[in-house]
């Protein structure tokens, strides 16, 4: 029995179907991210759960109860907004206590719980400050404390980290996950940042153009993307046009004159000479001295990313991207001949742009 269930939820604005057939079951205590490019309907989906946007079709259930038509202020969900949405005329403590006050929690308990929530986000000493006296990261924590203090059944995070600078964002990611584990609140986060979604979620829901295209653990989404869009949106990928044919009980793919084995070719596509799309992640390709490797190529460009070297290599597979750890070895020079190696286990067959079954 899932804790939060969205059944065939759709949203229509005039002729535009912004979200269609949204189906999701979230378990209690789970951290789920809605990931997608802007305009994919992820924020609308979150707002339908929050009750700020009416559901056109479908049903939302929370803990077995139908909340589809419940008003936002009756759902009791905790929400952290992209702009933090703190009350500027109230102190940090007053902000955090607001939800308790609305629930008519009496005074000694109210300030006790507010102090606990502020301690949880390490803001105890800032209780008497006003939001404008805090940094972006601190405001974010106040917003989190304000949402968590009411002990909501579900915590909704709307791009919570997008207004923070890169370093702070990374710190907050892990802290957010740590706090969520500690309090055990079921959490749904909307983000367009794939690394954010991957690093802190139990499951990732990938959305495109109002539809869910994949729901899986971050690792599965990365290793087995359902379509070409996901393979390039979540991390980098080399997409290769191949033709397949059967040989000795397994499927062989040809990309130019390079041959490789592929798994899980669907029966529908499995006829001789079928054109298919293969994906190969840049970090799963190794470069070596020019004589070695399954095929050879020329380094066209080289970028230094600190922990990684990123190469663009011209080879019989086409122009491919390869990353290599900056492990202290001398990097390959631009223009040099290199051998290219990979394991066929890491070659993924990518279905067309169809929607996940």
């Amino acid at each position: 029995m899932s804790f939060l269930r969205l059944h065939n939820v759709s949203k229509q604005y005039g002729p535009n179907r912004v979200v269609s057939q949204f189906n999701l079951d979230v378990q209690k205590g789970e951290f789920v991210s809605l990931l997608g490019p802007s305009g994919c309907g992820k924020t609308t989906s979150l707002q339908m759960i929050a009750g700020f946007v009416d559901v056109t079709e479908g049903r939302i259930e929370l803990d077995g109860k139908d909340i589809t038509r419940a008003k936002a202020n009756e759902r009791g969900l905790g929400i952290v907004f992209q702009t933090y949405a703190l009350f500027p005329h109230m102190t940090v403590r007053e902000n955090v206590e607001f939800g308790l006050e609305m629930r008519k929690v009496a005074q000694p308990e109210r300030s006790e719980r507010a102090s606990e929530a502020l301690a949880l986000v390490h803001l105890g000493p800032y209780a008497d400050r006003y939001p404008r006296e805090l940094s972006g990261g601190q405001r974010q924590r106040v917003a989190l404390a304000r949402a968590l203090v009411i002990k909501p059944p579900v915590l909704l995070l709307d791009e919570p980290l997008s207004n923070l600078d890169a370093k702070l964002r990374e710190e907050m990611q892990f802290e957010l996950r740590e706090i969520q584990r500690k309090v055990g609140t079921t959490t749904i986060m909307v983000t367009h940042d794939q690394s954010e979604a991957m690093s802190i979620s139990d499951r990732v829901v990938v959305m495109e153009a109002g539809r869910i295209t994949q729901v899986d653990t971050p690792h599965t989404v990365y290793e087995h993307p359902h379509n070409a869009f996901i393979s390039t949106f979540v991390g980098k990928a080399n997409l290769l046009q191949a033709t397949v044919h059967a040989q000795g009980g397994q499927w062989l793919a040809h990309v130019g004159d390079v041959q490789m084995a592929v798994q899980d070719v669907p029966a529908a596509a499995a006829s001789h000479g079928t054109r298919l799309l293969l994906g190969l992640r840049p970090e799963k390709i190794q470069l070596s001295a020019s004589s070695a490797g399954r095929t050879q190529g020329t380094v066209r460009e080289r970028f230094f990313l600190g922990n990684l070297w990123l190469y663009t290599v011209e080879c019989p597979l086409g122009s491919i991207t390869v990353t290599a750890a900056n492990d202290g070895e001398a990097p390959h020079q631009v223009g040099s001949q290199v051998g290219i190696d990979w394991s066929d286990r890491n070659v993924r067959l990518i279905a067309g742009d169809g929607v996940a079954a």
């Binding site: 202020n73 929400i79 907004f81 949405a85 703190l86 500027p88 609305m102 404008r132």
Partner: protein
């Protein structure tokens, strides 16, 4: 270079400074001097003389402070009604969708496009004993109610004229409001009314303050509306000043009344400003 910098700001603001000096500071100074001049029924103001008699006259004669008191409460009432109507109006306006918002904003601003005199005559046609409003009252079986040439007429017409001056500042401060703040309040379990009272209202307080200062200041010194709708008997300070200057020809007394009005206005507005500002300055910065 640094020398240039010191005179450049002065030079650039010189036209405005000159305008203010000629149009405001000089007449103000002349009026103040005039208010201390003695007055003779036959010869008029005596230049160069100095007396407090006009001020003493204003303070001791109940006729004057009755008019001052009326001006004060009418302006105060107009300000309160403008807050009560204008602030919700601005809020509703800010919630409207694209075409309607501009249409209604235009309707609210429309009174500013029509001369005060024309509007005053318009109101006298509506409020008169044979006017539209009394016609309606007659249909319902009330009346006729005396609406013209009394305080009611002045308050109604002043509210109509002053409303845009309340709506615009409140609307401006509503524009600065983060819309998700209201959503946040709702998500924490607050009702719509509590959200308005506890979250929206405190944040538009600066707008209400500036609106009420403008409305009070303009209402307290309004002339055309009380002059045309108050009739001969119901006077406000501005119409009293006009009478002293042009009917009694007692310019020094008129000047003294004008000076007292200015001083009273300043004291009330500064006091109000300090009182309201103190409430939000610390929090909103």
């Amino acid at each position: 270079m640094s020398e240039r910098r010191t005179w450049a700001p002065w030079a650039m603001s010189a036209p405005a400074l000159l305008l203010f000096a000629v149009m405001l500071a000089v007449p103000l100074l002349l009026t103040t001097i005039l208010s201390f001049n003695a007055y003779h029924v036959d010869t008029g103001p005596v230049a160069g003389s100095f007396t407090f008699e006009h001020y003493v006259h204003i303070v001791t004669d109940s006729y004057y402070y009755e008019i001052f008191w009326r001006t004060l409460w009418i302006s105060g009432l107009v300000t309160l009604i403008c807050i009560a109507i204008g602030a919700p109006e601005a809020y509703i306006l800010s919630k409207m969708r694209a075409p309607w918002r501009s249409i209604f904003l235009l309707i609210i601003l429309a009174p500013l496009l029509i001369s005060v005199v024309v509007r005053a005559f318009g109101w006298s046609m509506l409020l008169g004993p044979e006017g539209l409003i009394n016609d309606i009252f007659r249909l319902v079986g009330i009346g006729p109610v005396k609406l013209l040439y009394n305080e009611t007429a002045i308050v109604i017409a002043l509210v109509h004229v002053m409303l845009p001056f309340m709506v615009i500042p409140v609307w401006t401060s509503l524009q600065k409001l983060d819309p998700s703040v209201e959503s946040a309040s709702l998500s924490l379990g607050a009702s719509h009314f509590t959200t308005l009272r506890r979250v929206v209202f405190p944040q538009v307080l600066p707008g209400i303050l500036s609106g009420s200062l403008i409305v009070f200041g303009l209402a307290a010194s309004s002339f055309a509306i009380p002059g045309l709708l108050g009739g001969r008997r119901v006077k406000m300070v501005a119409t009293l000043i006009y009478d002293e200057y042009l009917h009694e020809l007692n310019w020094p007394l008129g000047a003294a009344i004008a000076f007292v009005l200015l001083a009273a206005n300043l004291v009330i507005m500064l006091g109000w400003n300090r009182m309201v500002e103190g409430r939000y300055k610390k929090t909103l910065g």
